[in-house]
Every structure is written in C-alpha cells, then in structure tokens.
Symmetry: C3
C-alpha cells in the first residue's frame, strides 16, 4: 500500500465522519446517512475525474466503498461520543480538505493541465464533496457563506505546491507541506476569526 | 425491437408520468414540465453513463426523446384523469425503479465492474433521476427522507440479480425476478408501513 | 483569434456579469462571487462537454478562466454603477443565451448528433449555467418559473439554425441570424409580457 493510497483513505475517513455527523441532524435512515457520507467523501473526486476524463476512482478500487461503509457504521454506533467532539469534527473536515487538495493537484498534473487549472482541480476535489452534500440536504452550500476561510485555504495550498517544485524536494515532502498549508491556514483563520469581507449591493437602492 | 429496449422504454414512460405529475404541482409552463419529465426519466441513466464513461444513451438513440415528449403531452392532456390515480402514480414510479435497477446492473456488468459497484450503478440509475428532479424543484430529495423504503429495495433487487446468476437461468428470467424483487419489496414496505428507523443526534446536546 | 472564440468570450463576459450581480445579493465574499460567476459562465458548456464526451473547454484553454477573473474583478469594483443598469443585466444575460445556444448547436453538429439533440445541446449550453447558479444559491432555478420565455427562445434559435442550412448562407451569417432569433424572441416576450400558460393540477382535488 503506497503513500498516495494511505493519504487518500485518511481523507475518505475524515469526510465520511463529517458527512455522517451533518446528515444525522436531518433524521435520515441509516441508508440515507451512508449515501450522504459517500457523496461527501467521494463526490469531489468524482466531479474531478469526470472533468479531467479519468476513470472514476471509487468504481474501480473497492477500498473506497469499504472504507465509507465501515466508517459510517462506526460513526453511527459511536455517535453519542462523536457529538461531544465538535473540535474533532472540524479537525477531520480540515485534514480532509488538506489531503484532497494536494491529491487533486497531483491528478491534474499527471493529466498535464496547467498550474492554475491544477489548483482549480485541487480546490474542486476538496470542496465539492461538501457542496454536493449540502445541495442534497437542500441547504446553501457552506462554501459560499462568508463564515469561514475555506476555498482560499485550498488555493493557497495549491499555490504552495507549485512554489515548492522549484526547490529539489521529495514528492512526499511537497505533499505534506502543501497539505499542511491548507490545514494551518484554515485553522488559524477559524482561531483568529479571520474572514474575507462580504461584497454586496443593496437590492433596494 | 429487443427485450432490453422495450423494458427501457416502459421505464421512461413510467418516470415521465411521475415527473409530469410532480412538476405540475409547481405551476410550471409546458416546457418546464417537459424538462422535469425528461430529467426524471433519463437523469439517472445519464449520471450512470457519465460515471462508467459510456456514451449517453438518449443522445444517440432518439427514441427516448420521442417517448418523453409523447408521454408528457398525453400526461398533460389527461392530467385530470391522472390526478385521481394516486395509486397508479405510485405503481408507475415503482415499476420504473424496478426496471432501471436491473438495467443499471446489466450496464455495469457489461463494463466489467465488480458486483458491489454494479449494484451501486443500478441504484444510481433507479434513484438519481428522482433526486435530480427534486433538486431542480428545490426540495429535499425524497430519497433521503425516511418516509419510504426506496434505495434499499434497489439494493435487494441488485443483490438478487447476482444471487440468481449461480443458477442456470435465462437472462430474461433473472431480469424479471430481480426487477420484481425491487417492485414487491417497495410495495410491501408501503403497504405494511415498514421503514428503516431514523438515526439522529440531538444537536442541542 | 477566430470568430468562434471571440463570440465565446463575449458570452463568458455576459454570463460572468450576470453571475456576479445575482451572487452579490447573497452577501458572499469575493471568492464565493468568483466561483458563482465561473459556474454561471462555464457551467452550461461544462455539462455539454461531459454529455458529448468532449474535453472540457475551460480546462484546456486558460482564456476562459482569465476572462471570468478579470470580468469579476471589474464587476465587483464597479458594482455601484452596474446596479443602476438593470436593463443592461437583462441585455447581457440575453446576449449570453443567444451566443451559447448557437455555440452548443455547432458543437453538437461537429460531434455528429442529430438536429433535435443538437438543439437540446444548445439549450443546455445556454440554460444550465443559470440552473447550476440557482441550485448553488439554493433557489428554484429561474428557468422553471413561468415568469419568462427562456428555454423556448433557445429552441426557436436552434430550429432557425437548421432551417437556414437549406439556403446557401455563410456559417457566420447562420450563426448571427440564429443567435439573433434567440435574443429577439426573449426581448419581445419580455417587452410584450408574453408567457407560456402554466399547467397545474389542484393538489387538493
């Protein structure tokens, strides 16, 4: 089992748990929760694979399906423990977007897209599982609310990836540093309550 | 006209009618109703074809477009008759998911996916037309409400398909039995009011 | 820079501005506005490219990304000027669907789809950027409300395209006339307040 796959599975676990926890608020049945956990964890990667015309990963490699099912069952059983761990939920979600961003950037690179498109692909991989989850739950996607630094952390992480390529660093190190930039940016932004200002027009004007 | 195509068209008719009937509640114009009927009847298959990287069926074979248009026109003209037929609507919808599940499983098999993925493909084919319809109408997809056994009927039908392959039965028989399992499971669940229990966490805890 | 590309860029500018203006009402941050502008302007074309299994245009040709970014920045800076230009917003949106319809029809033709499917592809290209924008903002897509002639203008424009092919006209002329049919149809319909009648069933009946 290589480095890339382990990282990918950690991301699936992280997003499945955040998916289970948000869908349980909607009083769904276990199968509904499983589907939402599944969409949250592989939705971004699926959209990425469709866009870059690659085979959809979870359809060829059963490990993703198994990890989502096992994680969902554990998360449902231990839900009363999990609900007291709000900070852990945030942590899982943040680690997830960090991992997925860099996975997406690398997938884009291997399909020979230009850096700006690779960063977009990384951001889509990281953010659209959550967007699809929110659409399915009929909510305005969290991504578009100005409550949190989210997509911009992915963009900074993706930019770091291409910056680091100028130095002769190992692939693993670039991966870890770029992912950490995403995780640290979002964590600091939440801790210090930093947000982008909202821009709006008064529709009554 | 082969067996497979006839079954497919019956599914399109069933889903178009259920699409027309649910969109008419939203006071749409005839074109809006047609688009919703179209998405409801070919949306699940389109998502399936994108995921397994097959050509999208309705774009190459005009019969689907014609069937949706003719069915929609008839359903609009005879809407006053149809509205008294709530049970028929349920019947059409149920037959539709039964047919689409098995069609999806077979498409997955012919693209050489593993059984668990084929069952997922069948369930997506059957359920996501309705999910897309509900998203377009800005409602929480019916699929995720705990009101009815729905996706689990598809999963049982898909499982039956693979179980029956161990016996030396004809393709048509396996098709009919698996589809019937979906239809009967859902019908019995509605008749006896059987549901999966909802799992939730008290968000105020 | 050929004729096709210039027209395409004008469409991106038109839809980006309409995307910025509608997303600013939701008090999003600049990045959220950029993403909505992006989805509004390339979403229809992306869905089209996925359906016809063509490479997604904006991922290979960076000009689209650049145009959306520059347009969004300008639209945000000059938002106070833009808000007084409600008629211009309508104009931009209408020009956008006119251009996109014909671009979609031509893409469908070059992939050798039948005329009715090409018209559907043109309508999807023109309308689904707006549909995706509305779904992301958690609103019922404008397309399905009976307030305005919208999709039917695209269908008429697409039909005009195939009608004009019987006469020996230049490609550019067919393009301009068909696109104008879309723009004029929608403008006249709004000016004279022409709508399709809504069809509905009384759900209490």
């Amino acid at each position: 089992m290589d480095f890339f796959l382990i990282i990918n599975i950690l991301g699936v676990v992280a997003f499945s748990i955040s998916g289970v926890l948000s869908s349980m608020k909607k009083k769904m049945d276990p199968l509904g929760i499983l589907i939402i956990a599944f969409v949250a964890s592989v939705g971004g990667g699926t959209l990425r694979d469709l866009l870059i015309d690659a085979p959809v990963e979870w359809m060829r490699d059963l490990i993703y399906v198994h990890v989502v099912i096992v994680t969902t069952i554990f998360a449902i059983i231990f839900r009363k423990k999990l609900v007291h761990l709000r900070k852990s939920i945030f942590l899982f979600d943040t680690i997830g977007i960090g991992l997925y961003t860099v996975i997406g950037v690398e997938k884009g690179l291997s399909a020979e897209f230009s850096p700006i498109i690779c960063i977009a692909i990384g951001t889509i991989t990281a953010c659209f599982g959550g967007v699809l989850r929110d659409i399915l739950c009929n909510e305005i996607p969290l991504l578009f609310k100005t409550k949190e630094i989210y997509a911009i952390a992915c963009i900074l992480g993706g930019g770091t990836y291409f910056l680091l390529q100028y130095f002769q660093l190992s692939q693993e190190l670039i991966f870890i540093v770029s992912g950490s930039v995403v995780i640290i940016t979002r964590s600091l932004a939440v801790y210090f309550d930093i947000r982008l200002p909202s821009v709006y027009i008064n529709s009554d004007e």
